[in-house]
Symmetry: C2
Subunit: 355 residues, 2 copies
């Protein structure tokens, strides 16, 4: 495996930090970027010299394949700062492995592990001041890779750019969500790329989500494309249902993202001796459970939102409002995960990674 | 509707044409671009001043949504030159309508018709020398639009760029193709974006196509994601099967592109009094027809390739070689379409458009 050390990253520091221009109390998600960015180009069959430079626009041919064929994948991860000022990541090796799994499905060359971790930690140490202390504060980290080769034939590119950019973040969703169960539109096909963080998976959801927004729903819970009878995921989140005292979530598949927050929720629930079932979840059973009062909670799980409680859902014109609970599993599990992320509690599964 | 005239396009001419550096006899598809490009930015809810400038790299934020969420659609069209030196397009209004149909599905604002046609014809007249006379020569024209807004939240962008770039082309496929019928991987889902020329549809095909390439097949004929029993399209082409003297092709749907060459083939076949059936085509019937000798031809139809005859297919380990025919429908229809495109024959359906 390729080995690099920090002094092998070509570094150009920004002359002056922009951090004092930023209102950290009023951040809009994903619009403010830190002082530096990491990048590495794939040319002539090899990843070249990795670089860290001031955050800035890039120059790219209009014929670059990413604009035409969507050959691009990404990851979402977060950095946290504890009360001592140490910075932490959460299960970063899972993000590393997943970006390469996504890349392989889109015929993008895999990125070397040493480059990923050395690039990530060097960048985060340079921009450490942008990670603010306190639960609810984090640095959203976006590794991504895209096809740069200037040639518009419909085949995998020969050239790519891998980048990491970082954006300080507050909580992604502030209010409880209202969601629509999909009945017509679909997110992914059997044998498709739904399990990958492929760029095209996201744009495909925007139009149906706009329609849902107009009806007063912020997100769609996607169902299987074939029958629309089974609840799969929410596009930026996996989905959990609590029926009585059992948490239920769909198994991962080639249609459903293997979410890192999803599997952390399952583990934390088991650590709390909660009953968890990973199995197909039908629209029918969730509507029946909502009608008879056994459906206690629905929540989304994802890196950006961590845990997003859901207040209501609609399907087939039927609207179900979920109760307010004293003993919410969502809040209990969210608190547990946030405490691990912010180095406030024991980390018995070794999920924290010191930057 | 917004109206513009040529003198409202902001034009910067290249100082010196690159045309004399180009070997027109040895063009690789999609790698050489003409002297100029057209672009128009969508900002503040409006398409701004359209521009034509020398073909050059663009500058874009790494946080532009196209890199992360694949919010991008495109068209493929061709310009032809007749013996008098006049330049022609083929059914360009269909490309215009389709790019906006694709855009709508990806929550991208529609592009105004006048901007499209005025931009296209002005650009083509400026770069007319790049369209070479003779059947087999064409100028491949690539209109495309992508999300430029620098914000990595997973929602539709507020800013976009529409562009047209042009690339001189020889025939796209030179030899007859060998194809694999898909059994495991899929191109699109019911309720998805398969009908749109969405960027992400293409990257999703690269890995399965790489696997097919390794088995000696250049393309995959995609089947329905649910059962893999019905033949749909080839990703860059629609597909026609000739069984005895009947041409059969799948109906368009939300999974299958409404190809302009596809519908031209259907019309030309009818003009030649050939029997055409637009209906679901099963893998089973095509294998049986191949086995009993009634399958005469398979060919692809698309803008880049026009008509691509197929020499053989594999499904489930069974390989079928197709016969060489004296009276190939594929070649007959291809010649008919090329003659219309190059202004060599009557254009009774009004498909030619003078630039």
């Amino acid at each position: 495996m390729t080995k690099i050390s920090t002094n092998e990253i070509d570094i150009v520091k920004s002359e002056k930090s922009r951090i004092n221009d930023v209102d950290f109390d009023n951040l809009v998600f994903g619009r403010t970027f830190t002082d530096h960015m990491f990048y590495c180009d794939y040319v002539d069959g090899e990843w070249q010299q990795p670089k860290i430079v001031p955050y800035q626009p890039i120059t790219i041919e209009p014929s670059a394949r990413v604009f035409h064929y969507g050959q691009a994948v990404f990851e979402g991860m977060k950095g946290y700062k504890d009360d001592n000022g140490d910075a932490w990541l959460f299960r970063p090796n899972d993000n590393f492995e997943r970006i390469n799994k996504s890349a392989a499905r889109l015929a993008i060359p895999e990125f070397p592990k040493e480059y990923f971790f050395e690039g990530l930690t060097t960048l985060l140490n340079m921009d450490k001041a942008w990670i603010k202390k306190g639960k609810g504060n984090s640095l959203y980290i976006r590794p991504f890779v895209f096809a740069t080769e200037p040639a518009i034939s419909a085949s995998p590119a020969n050239n790519y750019r891998f980048m990491i950019i970082c954006s300080p973040a507050k909580a992604y969703y502030t209010a409880k969500l209202r969601v629509l169960f999909a009945e017509k539109y679909s997110r992914s096909a059997n044998g498709g790329v739904g399990f990958a963080k492929a760029a095209g998976n996201y744009a495909a959801q925007f139009y149906p989500t706009n329609l849902a927004n107009k009806k007063g729903y912020q997100q769609i819970i996607w169902t299987d494309a074939n029958t629309h009878e089974y609840l799969e995921e929410a596009g930026t989140m996996n989905i959990f249902f609590r029926v009585n005292d059992t948490l239920i979530t769909a198994p991962t598949s080639d249609r459903i993202l293997d979410g890192i927050t999803r599997k952390s929720v399952i583990q934390v629930a088991e650590d709390h001796n909660l009953k968890v079932e990973v199995r197909p979840v039908s629209v029918k059973e969730i509507k029946e459970a909502a009608a008879n009062g056994s459906l206690k909670e629905i929540f989304g799980a994802g890196t950006a939102a961590v845990i997003s409680p859901i207040a209501a859902f609609e399907h087939g014109g039927d609207v179900f409002e979920l109760p307010e609970l004293d003993n919410s599993y969502a809040l209990q599990i969210k608190d547990h995960i946030l405490n691990i992320q912010h180095n406030l509690s024991e980390d018995k599964h070794g999920w924290r990674f010191k930057v």
